[in-house]
């Protein structure tokens, strides 16, 4: 399934909805979306991942980029990650670095 990353600004929140398969071929698309979000100086980054079917380490590296680009005070929320995508985040310790929630708000 083709990858898409859609940004929506809601007040001081940047909301990005991820769909499809996030591999190294499309990770830059996600990175550019995060960059556009960062320019809005949000207080919170909310990533909706319930329709994300696959995430390689290239996707995890964009999460690291997001944190380092937006700063320590911007919390990252990951919403709806399930199954293997969630496992990948847990194996790499990312579940401790973001707020994982089943739904939002």
């Amino acid at each position: 399934m083709a990858f898409s990353a859609n940004l929506e600004m809601t007040g001081s929140e940047a909301r990005i909805t991820l769909e499809g398969e996030l591999d190294a071929a499309v990770a830059d698309q996600f990175r550019q979306t995060v960059e556009r979000a960062a320019q809005e100086k949000p207080q919170k980054l909310v990533l909706f991942m319930d329709k994300l079917q696959f995430m390689a380490s290239a996707g995890l590296r964009v999460l690291v980029f997001a944190k380092q680009r937006m700063g320590r005070d911007v919390a990252i929320y990951v919403i709806g990650a399930t199954g293997p995508v969630l496992n990948t985040m847990q194996m790499s310790g990312f579940h401790q670095a973001v707020y994982l929630q089943e739904s939002y708000p």
Partner: protein, 139 residues
């Protein structure tokens, strides 16, 4: 053994995952094991394409071989890029994986996920060919 030759470009990653996933489904692997194998192959293929070929200014192919026996499913990736043994790379430690994202080094995660996700991984280099082998046991 079934073989497919694909151009070594990142655009081929989804095709490689599809081939692996189809072989897993034919072999009756669980969804979890299927995903872990597809992720492992994807991560090593990404390394081959970016570090083995593109960063060297080289082009070439990746040959994907799929072999099922009554005991296991084996995927082999072969390429003619620079020699690269994933097992020889430094992997993130437990301490690294506990670090907040602000302090994370970007790198090493892909190989970590690949090696951790399969039942057996092997690498050989002979006649200027890299050979990465992934094995998943069948229940």
């Amino acid at each position: 053994m079934i073989q497919h030759s694909l151009p070594a470009s990142l655009a081929a990653l989804s095709d490689i995952r599809r081939l692996v996933t189809q072989a897993c489904q034919t072999a009756g692997l669980s969804e979890d094991a299927t995903y872990r194998l597809a992720l492992a192959v994807d991560e090593i293929a990404t390394n081959i394409i970016t570090h083995g070929y593109e960063e060297q200014g080289m082009t070439g192919d990746i040959v994907v071989s799929l072999d099922q026996t009554d005991k296991d499913l084996t995927v082999i990736l072969e390429d003619t890029g620079v020699a690269f043994d994933p097992r020889a790379q430094s992997l993130p430690t437990a301490e690294d994986l506990d670090k907040p994202l602000d302090d994370r080094e970007i790198g090493g995660l892909g190989i970590f996920l690949a090696l951790a996700g399969v039942d057996r991984f092997d690498y050989q280099r002979s006649d200027n060919v890299n050979r990465n082998l992934f094995v998943m046991n069948l229940a």
